[in-house]
Symmetry: C2
Subunit: 129 residues, 2 copies
DNA sequence: ATTGACTCTACAGTAACTGTAGACTTTAAA
DNA sequence: TTTAAAGTCTACAGTTACTGTAGAGTCAAT
């Protein structure tokens, strides 16, 4: 199949597929005479793996590591666990940061009510301190 | 004061200060004969305003809007409230997304235990589906 | 033969910085 | 007074994960 079909099949844009190839996440595959990329079902699987990882916010560099690991089936998979654990911690941290942020924004928001002018705006006053 | 002193005073890097100036968040100020930037206390206040906004994850473009508003002290400040409200909603949304992500990661993590090899790793199997 | 849809490469743009190179200025010590 | 270190200057590249664009070539159907 050509790139457009792969794109539809995986709900991934054509540019993104080419980008993943350029970044070494998808192998360079064979082309037809007109230089069009030709994919098989293996490519579909590989792209879906990447998409699945991305939906979990795993970075391209981490995905590359996972792909490398997949290619060494007899290696211990501890590194996979470590990677997922580390990622989990990052997500936790970000949630905590955002919650604190929300608290601050709530406090800020209470400083002003509608119908004032800028020079009396409690929010701007607060931000200026 | 020169840029290094301003940087120390505001805990903001020298490069970042120059970047904010280039982006129009800090006014271009006077220079000495050797072309070094010379700041006064007003600049300190303006930079702290920006830093305060950034600590609330307000984007540079939004900060620019807030600065514009500050420069029209008799305007209604409704736009400030709207901006903060919108920002608040974005933070809320991101927290919800991250919580869902965390749930997925938790499920994923349970698929594998230590001491396995890659080809039996439940996490990689799951990600490959 | 032609048209329209598809694909190709290469490059610019996004956000908010950070890092680097190479030149110039200032400040303090020798 | 010289010199060396520290600070500053501009301009540009790099970061992340794409997205958008230009201009040219290819394919499929009419």
């Amino acid at each position: 199949m050509k790139i457009g079909e792969l794109a539809k099949l995986t709900a991934c844009s054509v540019q993104t597929i080419r980008y993943y190839e350029k970044e070494g996440l998808l192998r360079s595959i064979k082309r037809n005479e007109g230089n069009f990329r030709l994919y098989d079902t293996r490519a579909v699987k590989e792209l879906l793996f990447i998409k699945h990882c991305r939906s979990l916010d795993i970075s391209l560099s981490e995905i590359r590591q996972l792909i490398d690991l997949k290619n060494s089936p007899e290696t211990t998979c501890n590194n996979v666990n470590i990677l997922v654990d580390r990622h989990n911690k990052q997500v936790d941290l970000r949630i905590r940061e955002l919650k604190e942020l929300k608290k601050q924004l709530k406090i800020l928001r209470r400083k002003c009510t509608a119908g004032r002018v800028v020079k009396d705006c409690g929010i701007l006053l607060e931000l200026s301190q």
